[in-house]
Symmetry: C2
Subunit: 146 residues, 2 copies
Amino acid sequence: MSIIFSRQCEYALQAVTYLALKPAGEMTSIKELAKKLDIPYHFLGKILQDLVYKGLLMSQKGPTGGFALGLPATEITLFHIVEAIDGVGFNTNCVLGFPECSGKNPCAVHDSWGEYREGIYQMLVKRNIAEMAKAMKKPEYAAMRR
Amino acid sequence: MSIIFSRQCEYALQAVTYLALKPAGEMTSIKELAKKLDIPYHFLGKILQDLVYKGLLMSQKGPTGGFALGLPATEITLFHIVEAIDGVGFNTNCVLGFPECSGKNPCAVHDSWGEYREGIYQMLVKRNIAEMAKAMKKPEYAAMRR
DNA sequence: TTAATTTAAGATAAAATTATCTGATTACTA
DNA sequence: TAGTAATCAGATAATTTTATCTTAAATTAA
Ligand code: SF4
Ligand code: SF4
């Protein structure tokens, strides 16, 4: 069960973090990403295409082709990825599912939820992929750490 | 787009809050709830049945029948409802979608995410339906406030 | 130039979630 | 007792999300 991000978005976060551990300029194939991260091959392909379109990744066809970061790892925040895949709904929608979340006439959880939401938002905006990659200790990533 | 709770769960939270504003002992029909809260009739029926099964609501058939709280409003927390409908995955799962979220070898967001998660959990555990109902100022609920 | 490898793109399928339909059961009321 | 109104329960449908399949296009290397 996904928490606040869609499956697609989770895959995107995992894959981009993986790419950030690669030497600059090196291309990584969908095949490698899909195998190492246990993500469905073609589904991942679509997601990566999307991120290329949004400018967060670059790609190249043919042998030796693949995907790489489209910006320096320090300039890609988690929010960039979440925004590209899931949009910004979590930042504006009512947590109880009411049509809109206006500040006036707040319910009992409005304010505290607002704080957590803002905190999560700040976390996404402040953390970049370079930090994620550096701290990432998952075995899937371990082999490539230099 | 739902944030952290499923659509079902959002509907449940809305409906139970609505019921908490009713005089004790009064039964409310699915029809009324569905109309006032703009929730699909039969879908809501299923959800309410579920909550009855879990003991959070009670029901009665026949004319003058309907649904009412199964416990005092002060004893039904938001967490009770979320747990009944969505389970507790948001409390244990990795926010990035990795198979498990263990404390050892944390990634760059593990700790801060853990804080928000704990905060949200506390919010759900501490807030009960009576508080929600009291503070609820949505027009859908306004007519019944006494 | 040809074969191999990789992304790109569109169609299709499967699964999960959300929503609807139908009939049965229960209980109140006249 | 008959009629009505409500929940209960199971089947079905629609929608969304996730996953797969197929072919084309690009690029490299032999
Ligand atoms: S006040 Fe509460 S119910 Fe109303 S929009 Fe904000 S979070 Fe939702
Ligand atoms: S450390 Fe980070 S990536 Fe690892 S399980 Fe916890 S939240 Fe997920």
